[in-house]
């Protein structure tokens, strides 16, 4: 093997090895949420539902959030999974109605203001967590 070919072989091996390591990163689903949201920016927001978009590929809940200091109200768009996935967790298109008070935990959007995703949605009045439990929901 010439020096050049040897170097090329080593380079390929090194690249293959680096791909091995990199492939161990957390999985990305059918859409890259990392391009939309920032996992290092968790957020909790509490407000009143203005609209539920029960659409594919993602459902959105829109929430009016009031700033406790200024009183200014901002409408947030919160992305969830698909209606199919939510239905299988026990949601329906009528589960949230305009005026419902909700507390949402998730991550902030990267590129747009007032955009977030939801890891959990809790009815503020009752403390009911919508479609979350694994063993509970199976019963």
């Amino acid at each position: 093997m010439t020096g050049n070919r040897m170097r090329n072989t080593l380079l390929i091996l090194a690249l293959a090895a680096s791909a091995h390591l990199l492939a161990a990163r957390p999985a990305v689903a059918h859409h890259s949420f990392a391009a939309e949201f920032d996992i290092t920016k968790p957020m909790t927001l509490t407000g009143k539902v203005t609209k539920l978009e029960w659409t594919n590929p993602h459902a959105y809940v829109y929430v009016d959030v009031q700033d406790p200091q200024t009183g200014a109200v901002t409408n947030w768009a919160v992305e969830m999974g698909s209606p199919n996935g939510l239905t299988r967790l026990g949601w329906t298109r009528n589960v949230l109605k305009p005026g419902d008070a909700v507390t949402i935990e998730g991550s902030l959007g990267r590129n747009k203001p007032n955009l977030a995703n939801a890891r959990s949605v809790v009815m503020t009045a009752t403390g009911q967590k919508l479609g979350a439990a694994s063993s509970e929901a199976a019963r």
């Binding site: 380079l11 390929i12 690249l15 293959a16 680096s18 791909a19 091995h20 990199l22 492939a23 161990a24 990163r25 957390p26 999985a27 990305v28 689903a29 059918h30 859409h31 890259s32 949420f33 990392a34 391009a35 939309e36 996992i39 659409t55 594919n56 590929p57 993602h58 459902a59 959105y60 992305e79 969830m80 999974g81 698909s82 209606p83 199919n84 996935g85 939510l86 239905t87 299988r88 967790l89 949601w91 998730g106 991550s107 990267r110 590129n111 747009k112 955009l115 995703n117 939801a118 890891r119 959990s120 919508l130 479609g131 979350a132 439990a133 694994s134 063993s135 509970e136 929901a137 199976a138």
Partner: protein
């Protein structure tokens, strides 16, 4: 005769040594990041010196017991479960003879843990964990794979070995947070059906059809003895023909375009030389084992393999999901 004596001595010595090591156990509970019990999940204990794997399955309340483990050092792991949780691994767990170690596990969320973004994977897995029985058969005696199945990813995926251009392309994709993924703009899913969601199989004597909720919503494999067409137009799902090898159905796919990103959670680049062989085997009523081999001399330095098990989910049904209805991905990702 002397050789026999040595063999006998080794056997005696070996078994005595084995008895001295003794056995222990690990027990605990597996929960999600939200504190919900993870039922029907498989936990693995891999003995680090031998590579030997011991498994246990959690109860519906998330309890497990890895019993009868030879004393030694283990890596404890829980595979990725659907899109809901990430793989868990804890090396250097020491099991001592006649002792029970307690290890409670909280799985980290995968994919931000976004609510409703998987197929209710943990719930569905738990719901259908108790299905038992033999694999059904067609009137002609071949196994019948028809039904609604919950897919999962390979619990122990081997990394791909790729040519330099493919490594560079994969790195570019990763550095862009995989924003260019075809499915993000409602283009088809990859032809290996590796997304851990529902698939419906309809099987006749001469055809096997996969239905699914992602574009293009179906794939068909011809079981009527035809071959592949000569020089087919490359397509997203390619051209699939199938044949029986005893009770295993072998699906052979060529004619694939180079636009799809291969393998859920991996997103490998490939060329039109891609050739996929899938081997379907149904060991019992509830499970479908699929071994996938992907060859592509234009992208991989050796075939990429995946070994997955699908769970029968007979009470579930596919639902319509038209991706382009309200896709805000590009807007949200700041892509013009």
């Amino acid at each position: 005769m002397r050789r026999l004596a040595i063999v006998v001595a080794l056997l005696v010595f070996g078994s005595a040594g084995f008895a001295q090591t003794g056995r222990g156990a690990i027990t605990g509970t597996i929960v999600t990041d939200g504190g919900d019990a993870v039922g029907s999940a498989t936990i693995q204990a891999t003995e680090q010196s031998t590579g030997k794997v011991f498994t246990a399955v959690t109860s519906k309340t998330g309890r497990y017991r890895l019993a009868d483990l030879p004393a030694g050092t283990y890596e404890i792991s829980v595979p990725q479960l659907g899109l809901r949780t990430s793989r868990y691994a804890k090396p250097n767990v020491v099991v001592e003879a006649a002792k029970t170690l307690s290890l409670d596990i909280a799985l980290m969320p995968n994919n931000f843990g976004i609510i409703g973004d998987d197929a209710g994977f943990l719930q569905i897995l738990n719901k259908y964990a108790d299905i038992k029985g033999p694999a059904p058969r067609m009137p002609d005696g071949h196994p019948d794979f028809s039904g609604v199945w919950l897919a999962n990813v390979d619990p122990n995926p081997e990394p791909a070995s790729m040519l330099p251009w493919a490594v560079a392309e994969w790195t570019r994709r990763r550095d862009a947070n995989f924003a260019g993924m075809p499915t993000a703009t409602c283009l088809p899913t990859d032809p290996t059906l590796t997304l851990p969601v529902f698939y419906k199989i309809i099987q006749t004597r001469s055809l096997l059809v996969h239905l699914f909720e992602q574009d293009p919503h179906y794939r068909q494999a011809f079981l009527d003895g035809r071959g592949h067409p000569k020089d087919p137009d490359p397509t997203w799902m390619g051209h699939s023909i199938a044949r029986w090898e005893k009770d295993t159905l072998v699906i052979d796919t060529v004619g694939l375009n180079d636009k799809s990103w291969l393998l859920q959670a991996t997103w490998l680049p490939h060329t039109e030389m891609l050739h996929i062989v899938e081997r379907y085997h149904r060991p019992d009523l509830a499970h479908l084992n699929i071994d996938v081999t992907m060859e592509d001399p234009g992208a991989f330095t050796k075939p990429v393999e995946r070994h997955v098990t699908w769970q029968l989910a007979p009470g579930e049904e596919l639902m319509e999901a038209i991706c382009s209805e309200n896709n805000k991905f590009q807007e949200n990702a700041g892509i013009q």
